[in-house]
Structures are given as structure tokens and as C-alpha cells.
Symmetry: C2
Subunit: 344 residues, 2 copies
Amino acid sequence: MDDHTPGPRSGRPPTSTDVARAAGVSQATVSYVLNDAPGVRISQETRVKVREAAERLGYAPHASARVLRTGRSDIVLIPTSTIPVGRLVAELDMAMSERLRRLGHTVVHFGDPRSRGVAAARVWAEWRPAAVFVEAHRLTAAAVSQLYAAGVATVLAFGPEPSPYAPTFVFDDGNVGACAAEHLIARGSAALAAVVPTEHGLDGFGLRRLEGVARVARAHDVPVARVDLPFDEERANEIATGWTRDPGARPDGVFAYNDEYAMLLMRALQDAGLDIPGDIAVVGADDLPLAPLLRPRLSSVRVLTDITPDDLAERLAKMIADGERDPATTIRASRTEMIVRESS
Amino acid sequence: MDDHTPGPRSGRPPTSTDVARAAGVSQATVSYVLNDAPGVRISQETRVKVREAAERLGYAPHASARVLRTGRSDIVLIPTSTIPVGRLVAELDMAMSERLRRLGHTVVHFGDPRSRGVAAARVWAEWRPAAVFVEAHRLTAAAVSQLYAAGVATVLAFGPEPSPYAPTFVFDDGNVGACAAEHLIARGSAALAAVVPTEHGLDGFGLRRLEGVARVARAHDVPVARVDLPFDEERANEIATGWTRDPGARPDGVFAYNDEYAMLLMRALQDAGLDIPGDIAVVGADDLPLAPLLRPRLSSVRVLTDITPDDLAERLAKMIADGERDPATTIRASRTEMIVRESS
């Protein structure tokens, strides 16, 4: 066999001993060179020899061995989540991961999305991550203790409310509903409705947005009807024709959960002969690219973050370095801005 | 300190030696019990004692130690990709990961999305994965050799064409454009246009869909104009008004890349006073929930997979078990179906 080509049939993967033998140096030297050990003087000639031998043999240093040596990895573990990943979350995740990588961390997504508590923590702990970034509702006191006992430097939760067990990145969906309600009431709506999607995984967000609508409406003595709506044209049509038949039950301002549900509802209202915003004002959320393409152009609550993905990555890296574990620590994320177009 | 509570301040993470001491058994026994070693007889009483001690101390077995012992992990590594994750891909990924987990594999997403070739392979190899599932264009002969040399059982590529270096899961985007063109020509369109989104990451898909349109159009002697379009209303309006001013340059059938670009283009065409489908027929792709909500209702190419995520997971598990490495092995994925509504 030509030993210059790392071949698929070479059997046993090459070890650092093989590299040491091929380069004519000690195994310790191989380890120093390939791990860029600081403070060790090794000639350039030896370094080149070791690197060439490693390359020739197809040797890759072993992440597991490094973890065992140092007792902790550089891993930021983001357990896989059941949250339907929207474009915003996917972009946050990608940008944050990129920055963490530049800061020397390895971002790993894995795990059973339905796992939680101590059983989940035990599986996460097997990787000896430096940090775990996970939905607040999956954490328990025992789970967090398990992670810290396994040497995890920091657990950063995320969710609509601060976790009692760990520092939390707080995304407050209630603000989104509140922002829509403030706008609808200011423009004169006197009977509100709020859409709560019935799809599993979205219902929680819907309820929190509804709570935000209800909080503002209460303060202004305006009634709020809850409208449970699957993403289904027929069901949307039933709601719209119901409102046509019984104008007394009809709201004059609707917060439609997000822009996609707003599109669904607007279509049904228009097909039922209702005028937007004359009969009913409609407000979406997320300010998706489709919002200005609708007729009337859709008003939408834009969600802004006070913190950029880069800032969040740097903050997390610092928390790892400091071993920050105080549950009182919160990073607030969402501000909102009302983008008023023609539908309200 | 109360040793019944694994505390955040306990310092050094507990080791299997600590568990052995607390349970009054040997370290080997701890290892047998916690790794469910087959064929080793240990009394139920001892098993309970070990598990309780491990739980009390907050001990988690060490994934890295297990990897070093067995020389290969159960990891299916899916390097993070730059592909903008649509709903379809996210669902495929989640369902496939779920099944692989049930088959005893650990699905891990990580890595620099822009890395490729041997440099990328070296980083992936550090995890000693059992399999790597990655975009075909990121693989080179040397990269695949590096992975196999590190003990990876199989590399499964995915992309629009079979990889010359590894078995490939082939997703043929050309079929999508071809399906749209067949339909448009069958309904009488005599001058086609195909939208290619200018956004980075989408342009490749756009070009492959355009190629599919062009292939069918050539066979029917129908001209095809390429329309480069960013997701931008102003640019869409310019194209639409251009076609109004110069009807001779106007196509009578447009494949709009996907449903979102179709929505953007339809809005611009309608604002410019053109009738859909009277002046121009429009076809989208992906059959998104918004398609039937547009007026006219949007015709769309639905992409079907011949293989379910469960089947793909099982196929990959079998490839790992068999050490399947033949680049001639391909799994074909996409069939298409034309959903005809009102826009064409």
C-alpha cells in the first residue's frame, strides 16, 4: 500500500504514536505541535516534520482525548429544540455561533428535543460542555445542579421569563401583543380580538402575545376576544362569515399573532366582504417580507433585540470565563416597534 | 456541605472513582453498571447502589472516555450548512434526527458553515463520528480519505448531483424548473422567463431550477429569459413596468423560483396593470401555505420525496453498519407534482 495516501482501507485509524514514529520524534512532541501548546520551544523544522507526517497519515487529533486531558471542552451546547425555527431565530443562532467560533468555542446542537430535567441534563453533561444554552422550561433545580457538578461553567436559559435556576436571556413575547394593542386602541379600536394559533409549538407564543394584548386592553377598559385559529382557510372563512352575520360580536381591531396568520385572516375577511381597515383593522407581527406585499399593506409589530448576536456571543463567552451562575442575571432581548401601513 | 445535593460549588466534577467509593464497589463495576455492559452478571442490589451513588454525586458518564475506549462514537455529524433552512429541510432534519436517535445514534450539528475540503474534514474527524452527512460540494477526494482514515464508517453527501467521492443523497432542483416549464408550455405559453434570486445562498438553487426550465424549453423550441431578482419591491416594479412598456419583450409564462418570489412578482405585475394569467401566467414552487391565499390563487410545483426521513435515517444506519463507501451509491430524492390553481 502506498503510505503517502491515507486510504479508506488502512484499517485502524492512525494514532499520535504512528505520527511520532513517522516523524522520528517523541509522542509528547507530536502532542505539543498539534495542540499548539503554548510556552514549549520546538524548532520550526520539527514542527513542519510533525505536521507533514500527520497530514500524510491522515491523523486528526482526538477531541475526546483533549477533553479528558483538560477536564472541560470548549463546547457551547445548544440542545435541539422543538420551537419551530423561524427565520429570525435561525439567523440569530447562525450569527451567534459564528462569533462563538471566532472566540474559540465549538457550538454543538444535539439532543432529544423533547427531553428535559435531570434526565436531559445527564445526557448533555456527557459532553462536558463549557456552557449550555437552553429553553428555560426544560431546566429544573436538579438539572442545573447536575450540569454544574459535571463541570459546566455556566448555564444560560432563554425564554419568556427569567429561570429561577440560571441566568436567562429573556425574550418577552407579551410586549409584542401589548405594542399591537396600544396602537389599535390609539387609532380608535373599541373591541379587540387576538388570534392564538392552535398549532402545537405556537400556542404558547400565542397565549403570551394574547396576555400582552389583554394587559393593555384592561388598562383602557377595552374588551378582548380570543380567536383560536389553525392555519386553515376554511376555519378562517367561518370566523369571517360569523362576524359578517353578527356585527355586534365583531371586533373592530384584530391582532393576528403574526404576519402569516394576518394574511390568512385578511384574505377571509375580504372574501366575506369586510373592509380593512374600515370595518376591521388588522395588525400582524414579525414584519415579514410579505407584509408590504399585501393589499392593504399590512401593519406589523417589528421585534428588535437590544443585543446583537455578536454581543450575546461575547456575553456568553465572558460568562463562561467568569463562571457566572447567578439566576438573578438576565439579558433582556425584545423591544418592539409598530410599523404602521394601510391595514390599521 | 450536604453531600446529598450535587452543588454548584463542589469544585472538581465527580469521577467514576468517587462513585465506586460511595457505593463501596470497584471502579470496573461502576463502569459495567453505568454503561449497561452486556454479558456481565451484577446483582440488582449492586446496580441500584451504583445508580443511586451516581445520582447523589451528580456523576455523568463521560462521552469522551467512551469514545476513546471504543475508538468510534455513535455520532452522526451533520456539519452546519450555509443553506438557508426552509421549513421542508428543517422538518426533514428533525424527523431524520429523531429516528437516528432511536436507532442509537447521536446526531450532532456543528462546525464552520463555510469550511470545506481537507481542513474541514480534519475538524470533523476530531469527533470520530460514525458518519458524516454533508453537502457534496464541500467534499474533496482528500477530505473523504481523511475521514475514512480517522475511522468514519461512511460519508453520505447530499446535493443536486452525485459526489464522485462518496455515496450521495441527490436532491434534483432541476426537476422543479422542468415541471413548471412542462406545465406552462402545455397551457400555451410561447415565451418563458425564469426568476433567479440574487440572494447569496439561493442563487445556486435558482440557477439549477433555471437549467431545468431551459432543458424543457429547448426541447419545445420555446425561448427562456433569465430574470435576476432580489427580494425587493422596487426592483420587481421596474421589471413589471419594463414589460408593460415593451410588450414584445414580455414573457407570457413565468416560473418565479418559489412561492415567495411569485408573490413579490405577482404584486408588481398587478400594480403595473397586467392580468394574471391573461397577460402572464405565473408559477411558484414549494407550495407554501400562502399559495392558495393569493389572488389569483398561485399555481405551484410541489416537491415530494421518494424517501421518508425515517427511511433515510434507517438507510444511513445500515450504511454505517455495513461501512458502505461506494460513490456509485445514490439515493434519489425529489419527485415533483404540479399544483394547478388560478395563476396559470
